[in-house]
Amino acid sequence: MKIVVTVKQVPDTNAEKTFDPVTKRLNRSSIENVLNPFDEYAIEEALRIKEAQGADTTVTILTMAPASATDVVRKALGMGADNAVLLSDDAIPGSDTMATAYALAQALKHVGFDLILSGTQSTDAICSVVPAAIAEHLNIPCVTYVKKLTVENNAIDAQRETESGFVRVRAPLPALVSVTKAINEPRYPTLKGIMGAKKKEIQTPSIADIGADPARLGEAGSKTVVESFAPVGARQKGQVVSVSDAKEGAKQILDFLIAKKVV
């Protein structure tokens, strides 16, 4: 079985963000980038399925990012993935989420897959639309927000989180599944894994190689346009009170809630 995990490089949450006033894009070069934390769960789940299924199952990492994103890819390979595809092309910068999903879907057709695993969201944009959009392009079953997954007899059995609980669903392979944090505890890359990752293959196909139409990519191929970015001012520090007894503390809060017309 061939498992492909889609992973994204995202700016570190702690990093100060600046935007290019002309292109309105994030200055990605000046900040530290990390593997999207949500995608670690997808990688871990792929590795667990591989361990359960045996030797003829492979795990491929797929990312669309600047050519410099190899650190993020190496981390995934260090965890135990077999190989990676880094989609990087001059036609790509400026792609919005839907253009991104199109390019990833084309890459997936090129690479081949039985099961696609994704994170549920990226920490930088929190769009949560790329996985479902990929599945729609590929016209395959799509089961998102999965907290428990079983792969058996060419089908999946999954528990999908809902706002009020979960639903258990079944679908045939090939399929796309996005996983939540509740599904597993990701492993750390071992020293041996990190050393071994250096020898693993990273393919870098071009847009032409994957048969993607450049007119549907980049800023020109995106259907949304960013007009502006405005920094949000830091929240002001309010009043901090030290209280000797609990009654006084509770009373302070109640008075505040009354003033705010909450109660």
Binding site: T13, N14, K17, F19, L26, F38, M98, A101, D124, A125, I126, S128, V129, P131, A132, A133, A135, E136, C142, V143, T144, Y145, K147, D157, R160, E163, S164, G165, F166, V167, R168, V169, A171, K181, S222, K223, T224, E227, F229, A230, P231, V232, R235, Q236, K237, G238, Q239, V240, V241, S242, V243, A246, G249, A250, K251, Q252, I253, F256, K260, V263
Partner: protein
């Protein structure tokens, strides 16, 4: 755009509150664009939900109750929405930021080659087109994003961003035709409603969250009691979730939910950046922490330095008393 349509989610006929918020803003946006507005409700209980929508300013309500909608995951709903949009012509379609809403939005976006703008906290109309405000990068910036052409456009909306207004529109209810002869691959085997009827953290106007300071799962009782007294939902820090004290669906922060309630009360939470990005856009933040140097105090409107085990039950009592006398 020829119309604005709002996808309304419900549970066995009980509407998620965000649906009422979106119907109000959706109808307002439609008026500004000079086009009709409509809502669409799907699945078992949709007729009941539609009745509640008559109290919102929306012009028409489309109802689909085909059995396939409940037996299969998402696919029949995507088909139903697609068929309706094809009938209506170029549409601005609004979806709630729920697991179902996000999936359908993405797939409708692909089917119509439409732009998809996510996580709207405001929608305005300027020069005849819709512009969306959306927080990015953990809420550190607000982006203003628009659609390049005026054909189909898709927006996902964050709860507690628009104010719901009671104002009966035309409220005309129309039945959607059942899709003929379609088969779907993803089957729903079982539905488990663990917290039916409870407000989710993303939706609630008030969230009371507990962190590692609670010391153990049994102490979430006092958080729940305060949340109940205030009519809010229970949230948690990652430390509390990772310790197994409460389900991940309650987690607020970078690897949990992003919430914008009117009031957020952080109890025994230190205020790490990964927690902050999930709640910094709350209207008012109150923190209870025994450490006067806890970072949470740096961005709280009111901070109380003290022992949560004493303050929280006391506060719950005071709130209940006040409510009883009101």
């Amino acid at each position: 755009m020829k119309s604005v349509i709002v996808f309304v989610e419900h549970e066995s006929g009980a509407i998620r509150r965000i649906g009422l918020e979106m119907c109000t803003r959706g109808a307002d946006v439609a008026r500004e664009l000079g086009v009709p507005s409509a809502a669409v409700v799907l699945g078992a209980g949709a007729s009941k939900a539609a009745e509640q929508l008559k109290g919102t300013p929306i012009d028409a309500i489309y109802v689909g109750e085909d059995n396939a909608l409940d037996r299969h995951l998402n696919d029949p709903a995507v088909d139903a929405v697609e068929a309706l949009l094809r009938e209506l012509g170029p549409t601005l379609a609004l979806f709630p930021l729920t697991n179902l809403g996000k999936d359908i939005a993405a797939r409708i976006g692909v089917r119509f080659g439409a732009g998809v703008i996510t996580d709207a906290t405001d929608i305005s109309v300027k020069d005849g087109s819709a512009w969306v405000q959306s927080p990015k990068f953990g809420g550190s910036v607000i982006s203003t994003v628009g659609f390049k052409n005026s054909e189909y456009g898709v927006i996902t909306c964050r709860a507690n961003s628009f104010i719901a207004r009671q104002e009966p529109g035309n409220g005309e209810i129309k039945q959607l035709a059942s899709p003929a002869g379609k088969t779907y691959a993803v089957t729903v085997e079982e539905k488990v409603a663990q917290e039916a009827g409870k407000l989710g953290v993303e939706e609630a106007g008030i969230v009371v969250s507990g962190g590692r300071g609670l010391g153990g799962p049994e102490h979430f009782d006092i958080i729940e009691a305060l949340a109940d007294a205030l009519g809010g939902a229970v949230g948690a820090s990652r430390a509390a979730v990772d310790a197994g004290w409460i389900a991940h669906s309650h987690q607020v922060g970078q690897t949990g939910k992003t919430v914008s309630p009117q009031l957020y009360i952080a109890v025994g939470i230190s205020g790490a950046i990964q927690h902050k990005v999930g709640m910094r856009s709350a209207g008012t933040i109150i923190a209870i922490n025994k450490d006067p140097n806890a970072p949470i105090f740096e961005f709280s409107d009111l901070g109380v330095v003290g022992d949560l085990f004493q303050i929280v039950p006391e506060l719950t009592t005071l709130v209940k008393e006040r409510r009883a006398n009101a």
